[in-house]
């Protein structure tokens, strides 16, 4: 009978007991986010993938030999491991030859990531066009563009356009929630279970 590995505590204990399902559970639970963060930092998908794999390997080796002192901090431990690897790579600028000792890592993490992106991308262009067409006036459009495109400060935008922070928040909030609403249906179709 297979055990449940939903919480970080269960995962840490399972890996320490040599349970391969616990290792897979960790990769499924944290893989996507770890990859996302690394890709954002490196701006390089392949490099992010390498770092993600390497971080998992480092953490798996550690957890197999001894559990971390506070299993609830598993995400923080994964994060610091990944970021340290990234920083180390940037500093040394060395070419790595990472040998993955778990073939499931790439399959599990990347499959879900690609599906998610495809589904969001499918709807995003349409959603933005619709949001812009639904804005009541040029000023609201300018609020959106100034904040997100020109990276202007909220207070500065309000001052320049002579509007209240409340109005600003309303326009931004409406755009955020409308966009989410327009792409949400597809996102929910992402499979929760992935078999390696």
């Amino acid at each position: 009978m297979s055990e449940s590995f939903e919480t970080s505590e269960e995962i840490v204990a399972g890996i320490n007991n040599g349970d391969r399902e616990a290792e897979t559970a960790m990769i499924i639970k944290y893989g996507r986010a770890l990859f996302y963060i690394l890709e954002k930092r490196t701006r390089d998908k392949e490099r992010a993938q390498d770092l993600q794999h390497e971080a998992f390997i480092v953490v798996l080796k550690k957890l197999r030999s001894e559990p971390i002192s506070d299993p609830s901090k598993l995400a923080a431990y994964l994060h610091s491991t990944a970021i340290n690897l990234y920083i180390g790579e940037v500093r040394k600028d060395i070419r790595r030859n990472t040998v993955t000792d778990s073939e499931t890592i790439a399959t599990i993490a990347d499959n879900r990531e690609d599906q998610f992106r495809e589904l969001v991308n499918d709807r995003a262009k349409f959603a933005v066009k619709k949001i812009i067409s639904e804005l009541k006036n040029d000023r609201d459009r300018k609020i959106l563009m100034s904040y997100y495109i020109e990276d202007s400060d909220k207070a500065l935008i309000c001052e320049e356009l002579g509007l209240s922070l409340r109005h600003f928040d309303r326009v931004i909030s409406r755009a955020r929630s409308r966009f989410k609403e327009l792409v949400e249906d597809n996102i929910e179709k992402i499979p929760l279970e992935v078999t390696a």
């Binding site: 639970k29 944290y30 996507r32 986010a33 770890l34 996302y36 963060i37 995400a75 923080a76 994964l78 994060h79 610091s80 970021i83 998610f116 992106r117 969001v120 991308n121 995003a124 262009k125 959603a127 933005v128 066009k129 812009i132 040029d138 459009r141 300018k142 959106l144 563009m145 904040y147 997100y148 495109i149 020109e150 990276d151 202007s152 400060d153 500065l156 928040d169 909030s173 755009a175 955020r176 966009f179 989410k180 792409v183 996102i187």
Partner: protein
């Protein structure tokens, strides 16, 4: 997700826009790793911002096609906020450089493999009330062509503009480009300039906002310097 949705929304925005740093950044990234719903929120918001950028660029008239470069091959990055701060202290007639700047390098003319140079390689930009000077540095590199994209115009003043581009230190003053373009609603339009390999090239861009009868309402001159030889 959170008891304070606005606060988390702002955090998401700040994360995507690169405004989180140090412990704040690390803590937020750990939250993303722990919370798959937050990751979705972040990715959706990031896509919103990307699509808004894409939409904005696709609606802005550009003369990029004259340079035989496609929009897809040009990396652009917003930097108006960067230059906006010093300029905002000046009069409302300031010229606002906005939206995007991209420099593209090709190994050889016509070569397919391009290397994109990020905006972070542009080291300085400054301005004055009526004349805005832009200085840019391109890292030393192999021979090849560089392209500079800059979106210009008078903030909020849409309509037609006369544009004259000259290479001031190597040419006799004859404009490399002389055209009339229409700015978008924000008063901006894009220029894509091929930068020559002459040492320390300097470009001058004269903008004239014109009325329907062709008379000049206001004008501004930009100079773009490259302070390295490449």
């Amino acid at each position: 997700m959170s008891d304070t949705p606005m606060s988390q929304d702002d955090l998401i925005d700040r994360y995507i826009l690169g405004k989180l740093g140090g412990d704040e950044l690390a803590e937020f990234e750990v939250l993303i790793i722990e919370d798959s719903e937050l990751l979705k929120e972040v990715q959706i918001r990031e896509k919103l911002i990307q699509e808004l950028q894409s939409h904005e660029h696709s609606t802005a008239p550009s003369i990029a096609s004259e340079n035989k470069l496609t929009e897809a091959s040009t990396k652009t990055r917003n930097f108006s906020a960067w230059i906006r701060q010093p300029l905002s202290m000046a009069a409302c007639t300031l010229l606002i450089l906005s939206s995007t700047l991209a420099i593209q390098y090709q190994n050889q003319p016509g070569a397919m493999n391009n290397r994109l140079v990020p905006i972070s390689d542009v080291i300085d930009i400054g301005g004055s009330n009526r004349g805005t000077e832009l200085s840019a540095s391109i890292p030393s590199s192999d021979s090849g062509r560089f392209y500079l994209r800059v979106d210009v115009g008078f903030e909020g003043a849409n309509g037609n503009y006369n544009v004259f581009v000259s290479e001031t230190n190597t040419q006799d003053g004859t404009p490399l480009l002389s055209t009339t373009v229409t700015a978008n609603d924000l008063g901006l339009f894009g220029l894509l300039l091929e930068v020559t390999r002459e040492p320390h090239p300097q470009y001058s861009i004269l903008l004239e906002r014109i009325s329907s009868d062709g008379s000049v309402i206001e004008s501004e001159t930009l100079t773009i310097d490259f302070n390295v030889e490449y």
